[in-house]
């Protein structure tokens, strides 16, 4: 029983992070109908930005509340900027081209980032994983029984941050003018443009928003794993994508549910079956979902109209 509870907690902690990254995929897919392959790698770049900032701040500063806020702010702003440039110079010129062109570009960017960061030339960090500094010093937040169930402070904090980001996003998408514009672009960007919505700006802002969310999620992931490596973007990004598809891609709440489901499934497989199979679980699950319910849990498979 205690073991089950512990797995539930770990699964939820991992799931919220997947959910945050999945939200980025879903938002971009919503407005552009593009699977932003590079999303996970943008996240990885954000984590490195946070890593560099944490070191620049020094040992005492980075674990203070202000320090953590600065680390998150730098990473999220930096990523928003990166997202803006990627959208502006790689995706926007291809918007009216066949979908395959944009997909190949996205794959290319993903590849260039994840393997470019493995070089050890100049400021690039090299392939070896590095220890992520303890911006949140691990403290046991809640211990039940004889260490049967342990809840760490970073689990609570990251859960809190993730939930706050999600609630903020929910508000933004469904309660603000910008959110309304976003949903209009997602519905039909040509008609939205006719209605006077600046579609280019909305799409760019959506990209920046999703990249910033990814950076936040990436930092939480790095704190959980206490490490950062150039390939983390590829793996976390892929799993988050799986989460987005499970929930129904393009569907905001679906991404959250998908993330949580995937986090729990992975945790239970690791806990009760074999930990070495962990990376295969997500994709096996994906194929299963596509077979049974191809639109995901919340989405629908809509017929393509001409």
């Amino acid at each position: 029983m205690a073991q089950l509870l512990q797995h539930l907690i770990n699964g939820l902690a991992a799931g919220t992070i997947y959910a945050l990254v999945a939200l980025g995929y879903t938002m971009v897919y919503g407005v552009l109908k593009l699977i932003n392959f590079a999303h996970g790698d943008v996240m990885m770049v954000g984590v490195y930005m946070g890593y560099a900032t944490a070191f620049a701040l020094g040992r005492d500063m980075r674990s203070s509340l202000v320090g953590v806020a600065v680390v998150f702010a730098v990473a999220m702003l930096g990523c928003a900027l990166l997202g803006f440039f990627i959208e502006r110079f790689a995706y926007r010129p291809l918007r009216e081209k066949p979908r395959l062109t944009a997909l190949i570009t996205a794959i290319g960017i993903s590849f260039a980032l994840s393997y470019g960061f493995q070089l050890d030339i100049g400021f690039l960090p090299g392939a070896a994983p590095r220890a992520f500094p303890e911006v949140i010093a691990p403290v046991e937040w809640l211990v039940i029984g004889d260490r049967d169930v342990v809840v760490w402070n970073w689990q609570v904090i990251s859960f809190g941050i993730a939930v706050a980001l999600m609630v903020g996003l929910q508000y933004l998408v469904f309660r603000t003018r910008f959110g309304q514009a976003m949903r209009a672009v997602s519905w039909d960007h040509r008609v939205a443009a006719l209605m006077g919505i600046p579609t280019d700006r909305v799409i760019a802002l959506t990209f920046m928003l999703s990249s910033a969310l990814a950076a936040g999620a990436g930092l939480l992931y790095a704190i959980k794993d206490t490490s950062v490596s150039p390939l983390m973007g590829l793996y976390v990004g892929l799993k988050a994508f799986v989460a987005a598809v499970i929930g129904g891609i393009g569907h905001v709440q679906g991404a959250v549910v998908g993330g949580l489901v995937l986090g729990l499934v992975e945790e239970f497989v690791v806990g009760y079956a074999a930990s070495t199979w962990r990376d295969a679980v997500a994709f096996g699950f994906l194929i299963l979902v596509l077979l049974v319910k191809p639109g995901g849990l919340f989405g629908r498979v809509t017929a393509e109209k001409v």
Partner: protein
């Protein structure tokens, strides 16, 4: 997109129709034998040629899915791995058996071809299992699922004792030869060209140009997509099996996402839909790092630069994809073949490989 050039079969020919399909194979055999004889005392050259050949098979077969059908698979290395491991294990188990009525060398080759086919079929089966759910949906799902499939293969291999886990398989009989590799290169190209010219190929082109329209015209889109995918996986499996029989060791590291990307870059660079483009790009991109490496070694760059060639290759591939898509999305040849692009110093009559 420009309309694909579909070769129109010519009616008049001296060769009887029943033999026409076999003719290229019969003509190729003595050439390959000669080639094998010339290569016999140059181990590195024949290794390099085999690698080029395997990459050509991979690129040409991926082109059937990514180019002709307009779907996007980025897990070709996964199918290659299936072929390599299945045939490798089979060959290891059949190593000590020989057919007594045949000379040993011939008997080895019989078993080699057998294990190649088994490897190819296993990969084709995997292609079917992976392709069926994802090809029912819109194309971009295939990209993710194939990528995930590659990962599953890696995890399965790393957790199975029979596949040597992370250490890999060694001691697979080295029965492959450049002649054998190029025989299969030839076969793959032949099949790819035959598909282009057939009604099957025309259906694939229709799906590529507009899936909804193709479906409206009565093309069984899922069926054709899955078949194209299975054919492509089969040849990827063959390529993997060939690879397993001329490298000293195969391990999960040889079949990662990097390998898949390499093949994708070859196909995109050559031109999505161009078989000869895939051949040219595969040859070029395989020999380029080798060339650069030997160049840097000759220049005496103390090994550091020569070692970096492999490292730098991958980000460069990524950027190459982005630049290609922005500047020249059709690649080198687009959907044309090399003889449509080159100046017409070859008389028009001799056009058409298959």
């Amino acid at each position: 997109m420009e309309t694909p050039a579909i070769p129109v079969p010519e009616a008049r020919s001296v060769v009887p129709a029943s033999l026409r399909g076999l003719l290229p194979v019969l003509l190729a055999l003595p050439v390959l034998a000669l080639f094998q004889w010339l290569m016999s005392d140059a181990p590195f050259a024949s290794y390099l040629l085999s690698v080029v050949g395997v990459n050509i098979i991979l690129a040409v077969s991926l082109n059937i899915v990514n180019g002709m059908t307009g779907q996007f698979s980025i897990g070709h290395a996964g199918f290659m791995a299936v072929g390599a491991y299945i045939s490798g294990v089979l060959s290891l188990n059949l190593k000590d058996i020989a057919l007594s009525f045949l000379p040993v060398a011939v008997s080895d080759q019989v078993f080699f071809v057998l294990s190649l086919l088994v490897g190819g079929l296993a990969a084709a089966l995997c292609g079917f299992l992976v392709g069926l759910p994802s090809l029912r949906l819109r194309g971009d799902y295939l990209a993710i699922v194939t990528l995930g499939f590659g990962e599953i293969i890696r995890v399965v291999v790393q957790n199975t004792d029979a596949f040597g886990r992370a250490l890999g398989l060694s001691g697979i009989p080295q029965t492959s030869s450049p002649a054998m590799v190029y025989f299969f290169v030839f076969l793959t190209v032949l099949v790819a060209r035959r598909i282009t010219g057939s009604s099957h190929g025309r259906s694939l082109w229709a799906i590529r140009e507009d899936e909804v329209a193709a479906e409206a015209m009565g093309v069984d889109t899922t069926g054709y997509k899955v078949r194209a995918f299975v054919i492509s996986s089969f040849f990827a499996g063959i390529a993997g099996a060939l690879f397993a029989h001329f490298v000293p060791i195969i391990n999960p590291g040889s079949f990662t996402f990097v390998k898949s990307m390499e093949i994708v870059v070859m196909v995109v660079l050559g031109g999505l839909g161009s078989t000869t483009g895939a051949i040219v790009a595969a040859t070029f991109l395989t020999l380029l790092p080798e060339g650069l490496r030997s160049l840097f070694t000759v220049l005496g760059a103390e090994g550091s630069l020569a070692q970096k060639v492999d490292q730098i290759r991958m980000p460069v591939y990524g950027l190459l994809l982005v630049v290609l898509m922005l500047a020249r999305p059709q690649g080198l040849f687009g959907t044309k073949e090399i003889w449509d692009v080159l100046p017409r110093w070859i008389p028009r009559k001799r056009r058409g490989l298959a």
